[in-house]
């Protein structure tokens, strides 16, 4: 099958939906002729023009508000916030505003389709304000779907599903994955939101992860296989809604689980996964569930420090082997 990068897969989904529906439009900082700071929207401005791919001033609240207002009116905005770290300056819109509109008006507004695209993660040597993994915050908002693809294939299918969803969706892309190629069908396909994916089948332990950590987890599983441990790897893909059934099925089979996330441990997705497994698998477990997460500190600039504080294959392997 044809291989394209994660960034190209995202662009392909955007272009496809923009061709299908004039109401789909992109707005954000540098998304126009420049093509986005990570090049994801490259070429879309030339293809669709400035009214469909709108450059904005540096006004994150302005971007999110405009997107929300347009969604209220039946348009399908796709605002881009350059880094998830910048969500802090427009936090209101994904907490107090968009996800509450439908509920607080008693359903007068039926649909509020807006897909907020942003980027996450470390390893780009950008230090404490451009490298964080803040997805845990957003999973606490009822009414907001949170999606984090780990492969080019999933990126296209999940984004297409997000763009067809009629609710606010936060779609978080990992910067390190942008240039990673993968097999992606040319035709349209949707990966339903809320469905985790077993990326590798195994029998001895379930490794649960998402986004860029999934590839580290798969590498760790390969190494564990060489040591006689057959790990199953589950990719969450959507953090809210969380696919409790797939998690339960896997851990009821393997009887052990390690949950891996790039974010700091406190209040994160891994904790929620552990809670889900305690509900569904307590009687099946042969060992306490372990988690691997970033160190509880600010992401440092100095590369050896950053590498040491973020999760690694070695840390995943160590967690699996720890009694």
């Amino acid at each position: 099958m044809r291989e394209i990068t994660y960034a190209e897969a995202i662009r392909e989904a955007l272009r496809h939906e923009m061709k299908l529906d004039d109401n789909v439009f992109i707005l954000g900082e540098d998304v126009g002729a420049f093509g986005g700071c990570f090049g994801v929207t490259a070429g879309l401005y030339d293809e669709f023009g400035g009214e469909r791919v709108m450059d904005t001033p540096i006004s994150e609240a302005g971007i999110m508000g405009a997107a929300l207002g347009a969604a209220l009116m039946g348009m399908r905005p796709v605002p881009e916030i350059m880094f998830v770290d910048f969500m802090t300056v427009c936090f209101d819109y994904l907490t107090n505003q968009a996800p509450k509109v439908r509920y607080m008006c008693g359903g007068q507004v039926e649909k509020l389709p807006m897909v907020v695209r942003t980027t996450t993660g470390g390893w780009i040597r950008a230090a404490g304000q451009h490298s964080q993994s803040l997805e845990g915050w957003f999973t606490q908002v009822p009414g907001l779907k949170v999606v984090m693809p780990s492969t080019a294939h999933d990126a296209k299918g999940l984004l297409t599903a997000s763009l067809r969803d009629n609710n606010p969706v936060l779609y978080i892309e990992h910067k390190v994955l942008y240039q990673v190629p993968g097999s992606v069908p040319e035709e349209e396909y949707l990966i339903p939101l809320g469905q985790a994916d077993v990326k590798k089948e195994g029998t001895d332990v379930t490794l649960i992860s998402y986004s860029f950590m999934l590839s580290k987890t798969l590498n760790a599983a390969d190494k564990l296989a060489g040591q006689g441990i057959n790990a199953e790897v589950v990719d969450l893909r959507t953090l809210n809604p969380l696919d409790h059934d797939t998690l339960a099925r896997s851990v009821q089979k393997t009887h052990k689980a390690v949950v891996i996330q790039e974010a700091v441990e406190m209040g994160g997705v891994a904790s929620q996964v552990v809670k889900s497994l305690m509900d569904s698998c307590f009687d099946y477990l042969d060992a306490p569930i372990k988690t691997v997460a970033a160190g509880n500190t600010v992401i440092p600039f100095s590369p050896p420090l950053e590498d040491a504080m973020l999760p690694s294959e070695e840390k995943i392997i160590a967690a699996v082997k720890k009694k």
């Binding site: 299908l20 529906d21 009214e51 709108m54 904005t56 001033p57 006004s59 609240a61 302005g62 999110m64 508000g65 405009a66 997107a67 929300l68 207002g69 347009a70 969604a71 209220l72 009116m73 039946g74 348009m75 905005p77 209101d92 819109y93 107090n96 505003q97 439908r102 509920y103 607080m104 008006c105 008693g106 359903g107 007068q108 507004v109 039926e110 649909k111 509020l112 389709p113 009822p142 009414g143 599903a161 067809r164 969803d165 009629n166 609710n167 949707l190």
Partner: protein
């Protein structure tokens, strides 16, 4: 009185009295202990609600603040469903899930009140963008207080609206107090409208207690916006006669200041204009006031007879399940 018919003018008077009586009855419910939560009453600001509403077309949109039950009433919302919402009843516009601070009446183009100061200004740009795309000449209007004019969103919204030449009208309702902090302590200039020059858009200060002045200013400004000339900032100077929330004793105002405020009550001001220009008679105004009292009594009874939402409603209206079909 501009281009307005006698019928329209009396309708405006009736709306102003309706808003006053509606709000007054909420005040009584708060002191009587029958109304839960917070209410922020717009008593004293009725000329703004009615002046704005009557200068707009039904297809225009108008977003407002937590003090603007009156804006929704002026737009034609049913006071029965308004009151039911404020009391958390299932017959309310939002099935009792929004309450006073989040009352919205979308079929009147009124996303209504927002509990957070600032976002309605940026959201209004998105509404304006969609209206511009529809190309019918409709305008998106947003009301916000002098307090909210100091949020960063004021700047982000007006700058973007000006850059994109959106059909958006920003209306700062300056009642001189952000809860307890007076305008002079929170702002180094006299008029918020003066900030319009920073965005290259028109700005105008208007007496917000004179309904005809409000109507005229909005009508003219909106005309220019409909012609594609881009956004504008209007500042309507007014006073609120009640505290920030019902129960706030306004200890930050002197009795003299309160007495001075009351002299500019927009309802007697409008009544005087109507009488002086022989548009109506005292008797007719009295009859309108009686009608309003009757309608309000019906709204009170409707609310009392209405049920609270069923417990299943806790989890409904959160997510739209169906994916869009292509």
């Amino acid at each position: 009185m501009m281009d307005l018919s006698q019928e329209k003018l009396l309708e405006m008077y009736k709306k102003m009295v309706t808003i006053r009586e509606f709000e007054q009855s909420l005040s009584e419910a708060v002191s009587g202990g029958t109304l839960p939560g917070f209410v922020h009453l717009g008593i004293g600001q009725e000329a703004i609600h009615v002046g704005v509403a009557y200068a707009l077309r039904p297809t225009d949109w108008v977003s407002s603040t937590h003090r603007d039950h009156g804006m929704l009433i002026a737009r034609g919302a049913d006071i029965k469903r308004m009151r039911a919402e404020i009391f958390g009843k299932v017959t309310g516009y939002c099935k009792g899930k929004g309450g006073s601070m989040h009352l919205a009446v979308y079929d009147k183009g009124a996303p209504g009140c927002n509990g957070i100061l600032g976002p309605s200004q940026t959201i209004n740009n998105g509404i304006a963008l969609a209206l511009k795309k529809r190309g019918q000449g409709d305008v998106a209007v947003v009301l916000f207080g002098d307090g909210a004019a100091h949020r960063g969103e004021f700047h982000e919204a007006l700058n973007l609206a000006a850059c994109w030449k959106l059909p958006a009208l920003a209306i700062c309702v300056n009642n001189q107090y952000a809860i307890s902090v007076c305008f002079d302590d929170a702002c180094a200039i006299e008029d918020i409208a003066a900030r319009s020059s920073g965005y290259g858009i028109p700005g105008l200060v208007v007496d917000g207690n004179d309904v005809m002045a409000v109507y005229e200013a909005i009508s003219e400004t909106v005309k220019s916006i409909r012609e594609g000339k881009g956004p504008a900032l209007l500042e309507l100077k007014t006073r609120r006669f009640k505290g920030h929330f019902e129960g706030d004793p306004q200890s930050y105002k002197t009795p003299e200041e309160v007495a001075e405020e009351m002299k500019n009550d927009p309802i007697p001001i409008f009544a005087k204009q109507l009488l002086e220009q022989e548009i109506t008679t005292e008797e007719k105004l009295k009859a309108i006031e009686e009608d309003v009292k009757k309608e309000l009594q019906e709204a009170i009874e409707f609310t009392e007879k209405s049920e609270y939402p069923s417990l299943e409603e806790i989890y409904t209206d959160l997510v739209y399940e169906e994916r869009r079909a292509v």
